[in-house]
């Protein structure tokens, strides 16, 4: 068995010339990027509030992450990174005119979104059993505010993936027409990117 790393091109399969819609252009459409930057700004405000709150309550922010369920946070990170990977694979599949494979990858991404939501609900129940609630202290208020807000984003972004599956099945997204799909993929990756910062802030750094 030989393992080789091929050069990456825009479709993930090495056929860069088939990707004129992304090369030096806005991936997806302008509207989705307005949404993405608005969401990133919202999360930026959360992060700034976190920095200020941590400076004022260092003891609470030092103890807080130790009481949280690191396993749940880690599994959720695995789920989101994997889902982003599956969405990228789905986009690569439609670009080589393989909608069936694209739908399979998208279902895997939706499954990961579902796993994330289930783990989050389990984690919240686990927290309550440990006496960790929204008003326990400032750290946990930040924790619930950030994670619940992010959970909502995962929820509706999962809905957008289901919409993309429906469009693929209907033949509305094809090799030559999948800008809407690209926009949905970009939004999903943004949700993953927000978690890339949230996870270490809440579970790792003390």
């Amino acid at each position: 068995m030989s393992i080789t790393a091929t050069d990456f091109h825009l479709n993930g399969s090495g056929i860069v010339t088939q990707e004129p819609e992304t090369l030096n252009k806005i991936p997806g459409n302008r509207a989705v990027w307005v949404g993405i930057f608005a969401e990133m700004t919202e999360f930026a405000l959360f992060f700034i509030v976190y920095f200020i709150a941590k400076a004022h309550y260092p003891e609470q922010f030092n103890q807080g992450p130790q009481q949280l369920n690191t396993l749940a946070g880690t599994l959720n990170t695995f789920a989101l990174i994997s889902s982003s990977y599956f969405v990228a694979k789905a986009l690569a599949a439609i670009r080589i005119d393989d909608p069936e494979q694209s739908i399979k990858w998208l279902w895997r991404a939706v499954l990961c979104g579902g796993i994330y939501l289930v783990i989050k609900v389990w984690e919240y129940h686990w927290n309550v059993d440990q006496g960790i609630e929204t008003n326990t202290n400032k750290f946990y208020t930040m924790y619930y505010y950030m994670t619940f807000n992010h959970l909502l984003h995962v929820g509706w972004a999962s809905g957008s993936l289901l919409w993309a599956i429906r469009q693929l099945k209907a033949g509305n997204y094809t090799q030559n027409n999948h800008l809407g799909f690209t926009a949905i993929a970009c939004y999903w990756h943004m949700v993953d990117l927000a978690w890339v910062i949230i996870f270490p802030l809440l579970y790792v750094l003390r």
């Binding site: 080789t4 990456f8 252009k25 806005i26 690569a92 990756h189 270490p200």
Partner: protein, 98 residues
Amino acid sequence: MLKNNFTLNMLDISWILLMIITSANAFVAETAEPSLAITAIICCSIAYKGRRIMDYFMELNHANTTIQFFMRSYFHVFPALIFLSDLFSEELASLTTI
């Protein structure tokens, strides 16, 4: 003779790297004592993970340069702010006391 060609493109490699870094972060969360060095390492891992997702999953490495600039800046500025807010926490507290 069994011949099996198993190839990895950059999507696969990125996914594997991101999973490894996440595992390392979780290990740090469970074992390491807090210090500025640990914070710096975590900040670098955030910046790297963000860049990897943006470049290869979001495909920004060949996209519109304005979007590329703002997205990349975000993942330079926030890891830096995490580190600086830790380094100058007392100054930040006094600056934001009403």
